[in-house]
Symmetry: C2
Subunit: 307 residues, 2 copies
């Protein structure tokens, strides 16, 4: 059994629920566990989207919770998404596409369902609409290099890429991030058709598609679905039974018994330490510290505090 | 329907089976489709591992095909894996762990099954055993920056990281890559317990765990399995029914009707173009070319030619 235990510990990514003992090696989990209460920030209820999928074959409920991205990023689409949720527009739609190592996508499979009044694809280009001037971005030396931008940092709880002068920033595609499906440019999508990344993030999508949120609970209900055999992973008509019905999508602010979540302040001391430790694992399992870390490998710690 | 068609085309990653028309935009798929026959190299049958999982609930067969990494990388573990396959050691074992955004892992759940003679964990450290001097690595300017190493290039069909002087290189963890489970260092694992990456690659595993191969067909049979609810995604005893039985694992060289595969020569002109186009998507869907590409976002094209 010893070997099983050590090999289980070996590949750990999960954040332990309890603080490590003082003698224990410093790990990302131990840093998060020792953060102070003031370092945790509440996620506003209007930035929570609660999606109830039909129960699985064994009757287990499948709830997916999405955190919407805060200002200044992608706000026209986020506003549309709130309108769609309040109109209960997604109720009765479905998950229609699961492409391995790419995306799971949901919305109205008929593409005929009328959108609520006021929900339109923004006319701004992505760069104009998404790249925003941000101030006082804290540096995270552990995130030293990015394949897709001169820099990559954390801003208001989100990983963003920044230009050379660090004067503008844009949201990026990481595992579990949610974006807006669309047709060919300059179409930018309304927000009614959404996808989430279920594999290696294809970062060339950054600035070309609107990132509007991330899955913070229930990701496995979207990532472990059978892959579609149609073009680009869409379920074919023969596979129509694989489309998972969406029972409801609600804003946290609409629900009496809404769950509540907090995220670790990305401007906090504990978060800075967390990034450093993620970049230089030197507990008993690792021989060679990486000396750096991909921005998408630093998941912002999120915890449920109610519901 | 037009919108559906365009939004389907929009998120395309798949490589089209047929060449694009001359007027069509240059895409990664069109570059691969126009590669010459000489640019495709055969994968040796002794570098193919054919794993038959038990059929799914609907009775559909589930075959996973793994390409083993060629010399000079990880050869002690690859030799062990060939011995294990020839001994039919994996027959009757199972998939025991599925951790979302991390790994699917298989092997002997009891950890009691005796290994064939000669199969032992190599005593070399990972750096000694895996980082190898390589010569004449072709440059791929599209892969300009890497978060985990001074450089990242392709060598004999595989993405590898290189040190500052490009004098040594080591294999890396990307989506679908297969590595060797182990306990705490200096244990390096025998190769009997294997995992594959099913999410954002955690590149800090590079040089700490032995990369021995990659899934080239049937990845969805490992990535879409239900996640385990035990620690680190292991299936609990209550979930024992979720462990997918492994019916057999065979080397391609053992099979009379072995499938045959080719990969696009990473030193070829077409591959260099493929990387460039991956780094600078400018077809109708994209507004902002990325100007670079993560090494793990450049999947080496592989095609089945028989079986």
């Amino acid at each position: 059994m010893h070997k099983l235990v050590t090999s289980i510990a070996a590949l750990a990514l999960a954040i332990p629920a309890t603080a490590q003992e003082a003698q224990a090696p410093v790990t990302p989990g131990s840093v998060v566990a020792s953060a102070t209460p003031e370092e945790w920030l509440a996620i506003a209820p209007e930035n929570l989207l609660v999606m109830e999928l039909a129960p699985d074959a064994a009757g287990n409920p499948r709830t997916v919770i999405i955190q919407l991205i805060p200002a200044p990023f992608s706000q026209p689409w986020v506003a549309n998404i709130r309108t769609l949720a309040r109109a209960h527009w997604w109720d009765g739609t479905s998950v229609n596409r699961v492409q391995d190592n790419y995306v799971t996508q949901w919305g109205d499979v008929t593409e005929q369902k009328p959108l609520p009044e006021g929900v339109e694809a923004p006319q701004d280009s992505y760069v104009a609409a998404q790249a925003r001037r941000v101030l006082a971005i804290p540096a995270h030396p552990g995130v030293a290099r990015d394949s897709y931008a001169p820099g990559a940092v954390f801003f208001r709880g989100w990983p963003v890429a920044v230009d050379g002068g660090a004067s503008t920033a844009w949201p990026i595609h990481c595992y579990g991030h949610v974006g807006v499906g669309r047709g060919y440019a300059p179409d930018t999508g309304s927000g009614a058709e959404l996808y989430t990344i279920i594999g290696q993030p294809q970062r060339h999508m950054d600035r070309n598609l609107a990132v509007v949120g991330r899955v913070i609970e229930g990701m496995e209900h979207l990532s472990s679905l059978p892959r579609g055999s149609g073009e680009l992973g869409f379920y074919t008509e023969e596979e129509a039974h694989l489309r998972v019905p969406i029972l409801s999508v609600r804003l946290g602010s609409e629900l009496d018994d809404a769950p509540a979540f907090e995220y670790l302040d990305t401007a906090s001391e504990s978060f800075a330490r967390y990034v450093q430790v993620r970049a230089n694992r030197d507990d008993a399992f690792y021989t060679v510290p990486a000396g750096g870390v991909d921005i998408c490998s630093v998941q912002v710690p999120v915890r449920r505090v109610r519901g």
